[in-house]
Amino acid sequence: MSEEQEVVTVVKAPVYLKYNFTAGAAPARFLAQIKKGVLTGQRCPKCSAVYVPPRGSCGGCGVATEEEVVLSNKATVQSFTIVYIPIPNNPIQPPYIIANVVPDGANVSFIHLMSECVNEDVHIGARVEAVWKPKEEWAFAMDNIRYYRPIDEPNVPVDQIGKLPVTGLEG
């Protein structure tokens, strides 16, 4: 090697996958409702399970779902994790909580952020509610719901999580 230079030991080899993601019929209906500030699922005509966000079919029965069901802003924590590691390009400062929440009236959970909570106090079965962005910021986006926060209601027993009617605990 003719010049006094450092030997090359690494190369940058990034891979970028550029997608044009199309929501599909059922998620498009769901997002159209989200834009209006309404959380909806779809009910399986066979087993009655309510899916949110809907994918347009029931994974268990293998049939299309059509019936739209309006869900509650209240939900139950099915599981959660406390995130301590910062994620690149994520503005949220750790530690924060990512939870699987089941809205009342639905039978499956989705992942969302929790806030206005003491991280150490969050637990499975905890009752929470959606905090929406101001109406003028609503878009075709799940983060119209800014986060979920705890509410003062009794815990849901583990075997009841994901089985509450849209009217919640009292229903």
């Binding site: 030997v7 090359v8 030991t9 190369v11 044009n20 993601f21 498009a28």
Partner: protein
């Protein structure tokens, strides 16, 4: 029920890898940065470019680097009519297997040419260096017909 609006959105997934070169490719890239092209001598005497760490026949570690020429011969090629974003040129070009002078196996790189007709098996080409070399295969910007 009315037909819902079709929703779509651009989405980019990026894996920002940095890869270790190992000592042999590291040497090759270091030499490229100095505008030299090196191969390595295999147990049967062939000079392999780019150099490889282990002998293709005996699997012994290789270490005898050999500088090869910056000119060579096109062994085979494929003409790219419509370059894509990831390609090294934004005008039509050829991917070619180029056997550099002093090397015994061809190396793949791109060849700049005015048209497909201008490229031929057996044609002589010359390496064109990038304005700034950084220790990457694109330090050779392309090969040009001699």
């Amino acid at each position: 029920m009315s037909q819902p609006e079709v929703l779509n959105q651009a989405f980019e997934l990026g894996y920002t890898y940095t890869r270790s070169t190992g000592p042999v490719i590291g040497r090759f890239l270091t030499e490229l940065r100095n505008r030299n092209i090196v191969g390595i001598k295999a147990s049967d005497g062939r000079v392999v470019v780019p150099p490889m760490e282990y002998d293709p026949n005996t699997a012994e570690a290789l270490s005898e680097f050999v500088e090869v020429g910056q000119q060579g011969e096109i062994v085979s090629f494929a003409w790219v009519k419509e370059p894509r974003e990831a390609h090294p040129m934004d005008v039509p070009f050829a991917w070619a297997m180029i056997k550099l002078d002093g090397a015994d196996v061809p190396m793949i790189h791109c060849v700049a040419a005015v048209s497909e007709d201008a490229v031929a098996t057996g044609a002589r080409v010359q390496a064109v260096w990038a304005d700034e070399t950084i220790g990457y295969i694109t330090d050779i910007r392309c090969f040009e017909l001699v």
